[in-house]
Amino acid sequence: MGQITLQGVTKRFGEVEVIPPLDLTIEDGEFVVFVGPSGCGKSTLLRLIAGLEDVSAGDILIDGKNATDASPARRGLAMVFQSYALYPHMSVRKNIAFPLKMAGVSKPEQDRRIEAAAKALNLTSYLDRRPGQLSGGQRQRVAIGRAIVREPSAFLFDEPLSNLDAALRVGMRLEISELHNRLKTTMIYVTHDQVEAMTMADKIVVLQAGRIEQVGSPLDLYLRPKNVFVAGFIGSPRMNLFSGAAAAEYGAMTIGVRPEHIRISGQGGKWKGRVGVSEHLGSDSFFYVEDTGLAETITVRADGEVTLHHGDTVWLTPDEGKIHRFDTNGDRI
């Protein structure tokens, strides 16, 4: 079981309110991703749930029981840190055994759980090495191993992949998703990378300045962003946002069109512009169109076979049904 409920949770550092009162429910077995730009309070929120920071006001319920004042150890949660936080002078085996030893688990049971975790994470042949002798990805797996042997009610991940190189990150992303499918344990995952959020989450919580901007499934957020911030944050490349006359035409303060919802043509269309940088990825091509008079550049995603070059004059036509409209407060109309 691992249902976590936050009720009016607030965090102040002195005068500064980092997290204004916030309510959130995380259901048992869910993979929840906290995502937001750096400094948005997502890590602080995770540390509040973990018990590493004290809440200034509000309650944290774990499985219905009030855990607001419980020590981190008593909450039954396991955390994977950004720096992995492995104990450098202990072997991998001892690192993984540490929480079990602290919990007073018997030696044979310890060995059984360590073997199981090591096998699941491909660490069996590294058990007697020190963390310093492992690569980044292996250290990450040891940190996860140390978390899973405790059989916690929920896992907390604090930007666990940000120290890995791009290829490894994709691999570990799959491994963590796989782990979640296998264990079916609640996981809370903090990241600033919206690709990680989109690919892994059952539910994404978008945060900005400590406030929750939107909570929903990845597709929900993608298809129906609640406001301009979420619209701009979710999706890669970013959604094109224009205001002014182009927006007024649709009865909105701001309109947003995703790059894949704009047709680009050399013959004619709605908005005229000039191709700036173009990126050909083979499967897709991205064009950064300038001089449209709407925004500095408009990003367009087109088929891989479209060949346009720097300086070509083009016309852009948005897919009318897929235009997002926002009012003066930035909220969705």
């Binding site: 720096s83 492995l86 104990y87």
Partner: protein, 289 residues
Amino acid sequence: MATRQTQGLARLMRAPAIILLFIWMIVPLCMTLYYSFLNYNLLNPGMTSWAGWFNYQYFYSDPAFFEAIGNTLILVLGVLFITVVLGIAIAMLIDKPIFGQGIVRILVISPFFVMPPVAALIWKNMIMHPSYGVLADVARFLGVQPVDWFAQYPLFSIILIVAWQWLPFATLILLTSLQSLDTEQMEAAEMDGAPAYSRFLYLVLPHMARAITVVILIQTIFLLGIYAEILVTTNGGPGTASTNLTFLIYRAARLNFDIGGAAAGGIIAVILANIVAVFLMRAVGRNLD
């Protein structure tokens, strides 16, 4: 970078410093060795003659010799124990953010700036003196007989003074080590359910192992040669109860004017110091890898 040419050049550039250091070390050593085989007394400096191993035999057969070695070891180990244990405790205390942290840290470090004879005299005359020392006042206040520290516990008194002087050094080194401890590791241990004493035992102590080794090695080098504190307090006494090897050599050289005997003692001390060094490196040196 490390081509044969640059290596050769580097060796050439290093040579003057190394040669100078070598001469600096080897000349006094050779002179001491030479004197240790001479009958050479300052009361009769004209009458020097070859003595063979006599000086060594004489020094070795001195009844104070083994006592001095024992005292030296007790002194070194006692001071090491006090400074390391208290050093860890104080370092952990002043590592916490407290009001007036800067001043507290300066106060903690300040004993190190007091010269050894001055510190020893202050302890002798103002703290441990049986009639007007602070400790005597405390004893009288409690209604017990004041302790005559230097007469009753001479070696312990000296250990106390020297430990007081070296405590700041140990604290400082251990504090810097403590500050480099990763806070995420401590938090991870907290999440893993480790109570404070387990975190200390399994994380803080292993993390500080290297710093503790440095403290032990450096202090041992200096503590083997403790001399000024003994000279101004007990003068090696009562009898030879607080005489260490250094002080025994001093006695031979300056009280008996026996240069040959003192040189022999010096050579013995060098050999003993090297034996201690070998054991020490065996015991704690692997922490430095």
